[in-house]
């Protein structure tokens, strides 16, 4: 018998120091608060700026996160709405986003499905190769793209963006969607085929509903990518009536070296807030263990 076994039994409580739990909790909350503030501050700054008068904004002594001098004003939004083409920019952005989302879904979802179901290492490698395309910077690509846009007769039309944006949304979303399809068990697709559907029917009835979080993610990312794209929009669209928000407001609200900061921030906030809401709305669906219980275990 070993020496340890001869001793009377004692649990090892040194590993569960008192207060350890509370301390861990505290650190966790501190970290959470730090990162929330870190993420929220620029956003708050933007929103405060929207309602500030010039004298408040341009005094370097003033705190950005409260109204110091002069009362909050809606003048900046009025300026944005009435004296620029902002409503048109918004409308263009919405049209372009919707069309790009549709094109992206139509291509990326079937592509991702076939790549995940492609047996062997081919599918995986092809997926990575497709993702690499996304990494080529638009500052290089816009030169050849200009030719393409010209040939298609879409110069100076917002539909040039509808044609060009899928070149980066499709690779990114294909790769994203592959991750989701990989987590869908093959079994349920085959089960649907046993239960009486063709392969396409099985995908439609069993695979896509389970992949809904992935499809929502693709939509949100495509919208976000479309909203913040700048280089192509700048290169292909010059007339104000065809511009999206990203290039429209910067050309109209930066006049020489005069920045209309409050109106610029208003333009950004009006776009950012719906996107932020969209994210939070679907967050549960993204995170929820959506394949739990599909297979045993």
């Amino acid at each position: 018998m070993s020496a340890a076994a001869a001793q009377p039994y004692e649990p090892d409580i040194s590993s569960t120091k008192r207060g350890g739990k509370a301390a861990r909790r505290g650190v966790l909350y501190l970290a959470a608060i730090f990162f929330s503030v870190f993420a929220a501050l620029p956003f708050a700054w933007m929103v405060f700026t929207v309602f500030k008068s010039n004298q408040d904004l341009y005094n370097g002594q003033n705190v950005p996160f409260r109204f110091n001098e002069g009362s909050p004003t809606l003048d900046n939004i009025r300026l944005l709405w009435n004296q620029t083409n902002y409503p048109t920019f918004l409308q263009n952005t919405v049209v372009v986003s919707i069309l790009v989302v549709i094109i992206t879904l139509l291509v990326a979802v079937p592509a991702a499905y076939s790549l995940t179901r492609l047996v062997g290492r081919w599918g995986e490698n092809l997926g990575i190769a497709i993702f690499l395309v996304y990494l080529i910077p638009p500052t290089l690509l816009f030169i050849p793209m200009t030719r393409v846009v010209a040939v298609l007769g879409l110069k100076n039309s917002m539909f040039s963006m509808v044609v060009v944006y899928p070149t980066f949304t499709i690779p990114f979303c294909t790769w994203l969607m592959m991750g989701f399809f990989k987590s869908v068990p093959w079994d349920i697709e085959e089960q649907a085929m046993i239960d009486g559907y063709s392969r396409v029917g099985a995908i439609w009835r069993a695979v896509l509903p389970v992949s809904l979080p992935g499809i929502l993610t693709v939509i949100v990312f495509t919208v976000a990518l479309t909203l913040h794209e700048f280089v192509y929009a700048l290169a292909f669209v010059t007339s104000s009536s065809e511009k999206p928000v990203s290039t429209g407001v910067t050309t109209e609200l930066i006049r020489g070296d005069v920045f209309f900061w409050q109106s610029l921030m208003a333009a950004a906030a009006i776009v950012a807030i719906p996107v932020a809401l969209l994210y939070t709305l679907f967050l549960d669906r993204f995170v929820a263990g959506f394949t739990l219980g599909a297979v045993k275990g």
């Binding site: 068990p185 079994d187 349920i188 085959e190 089960q191 649907a192 085929m193 046993i194 239960d195 009486g196 559907y197 063709s198 392969r199 029917g201 009835r205 069993a206 509903p209 389970v210 809904l212 263990g289 959506f290 394949t291 739990l292 219980g293 599909a294 297979v295 045993k296 275990g297």
Partner: protein, 339 residues
């Protein structure tokens, strides 16, 4: 109702040895056929080919006298329960069971009638609104069975449906499943690697190893008359003892191995010099582990039997000649001549 037959069926994945290698077998109309074999022997692959989920490399699948090799799964009128249950995670229990009926376009009222029937048979009445993730393993299995059931298929293909249940539930599920199959009389092919399940449930058992059928027969035939040493040692726990003598392996079941003194001189028996090493008491029976020559053998006795030998001391044992089975030492194949 239909019989199911596979003819010289082969499945080769890439360059590997074939997963299923020229298997031919038939499940008669209404029969409960068990495919039994160790892990990786090709059971699931064979079942998937019958179901139409895996195209065979060569050979044919015949259901009810129709060659269905090139028909898609939905045309084969089969129901399959996967090893994983494969419930649709986004649907309630009710919708899971309704799924195949919707696929067939069964009228709504008829759907509900059948769903209720299947749910009550399998005791799912209180669970209809739950999602699969809110069910226990046993409940999931019953949902999978109910979903297989509602379509009133011609053939059931079941892939280790009980493997996720604890021992107690498994015993009762085995019983329910078998009763159920008897009562509806649907041809059933049941895959398992559990010999107790196979022996208890099957009308016949096909023993598979390395993609081939080693033997097919009733549980009794498989147990009493194994076709080779693989079958002899795969079934029975502990399995058949094999003692090499000359060019032959002499096989006998542990329950037939007893002190020579107990044998009746009128019935011929074969003698073995047995050295018992260890006794294992299992409640209803006891197992004596030991050696003959230098080969390990086991003897099994009812726990109530008085044993008149002691551990560690050599003792003469014997096996009635009619219980001896002989195998070729080289190939392992059964030999019907007494050496």
């Amino acid at each position: 109702m239909a019989s199911v037959e596979v003819r010289e069926i082969v499945k080769q994945f890439g360059e590997n040895a074939p997963a299923v290698d020229h298997i031919s077998l038939t499940a008669q109309d209404g029969e409960f056929l068990v495919l039994l074999g160790p892990s990786g022997c090709g059971k699931t692959t064979l079942l998937r080919m019958i179901g139409g989920l895996e195209p065979p490399t060569s050979g044919d699948v015949v259901i009810g006298n129709h060659v269905v090799t090139h028909l898609p799964p939905r045309a084969r009128r089969i129901a399959m329960v996967f090893q994983s249950y494969a419930l649709y995670p986004h649907m309630s229990v009710h919708d899971n069971i309704a799924f195949p009926l919707r696929a067939q376009g069964t009228p709504k009222a008829e759907q509900e009638k059948r769903i209720n029937w299947a749910a009550s048979i399998l005791g799912l009445d209180g669970l209809m609104k739950r999602k699969p993730r809110q069910l226990s393993g046993g409940q999931r299995q019953r949902v999978a069975l109910a979903r297989a059931l509602v379509r009133e298929p011609s053939v059931f293909l079941l892939d280790e449906p009980l493997s996720n249940l604890d021992a107690q539930r498994r015993a009762s599920a085995r019983d329910e499943l078998q009763q159920f199959q008897r009562s509806i009389g649907t041809t059933t092919i049941y895959v398992t690697h559990d010999q107790v399940e196979a022996m208890g449930m099957g009308d016949r058992i096909a023993v598979l190893n390395l993609g081939t059928v080693r033997q097919i027969g009733t549980p009794q035939e498989i147990y009493d008359d194994p076709a080779d040493t693989f079958v002899a040692t795969f079934l029975g726990s502990p399995p058949m003892n094999l003692v090499e003598r000359g060019t032959m392996l002499h096989g006998f079941r542990p329950e037939h191995f007893s002190p020579a003194a107990w044998h009746d001189a009128a019935n011929p028996f074969e003698r073995f010099s047995f050295v018992p090493h260890r006794e294992e008491y299992l409640g209803a029976e006891r197992l004596i582990y030991g050696e003959v020559g230098d080969e390990k053998v086991v003897a099994r006795f009812p726990a109530t039997t008085q044993l008149d030998f002691s551990i560690g001391h050599p003792v003469e044992f014997g096996v009635a000649t009619r219980h001896m089975r002989y195998f070729d030492a080289e190939s392992g194949v059964r030999s019907y001549e007494t050496p």
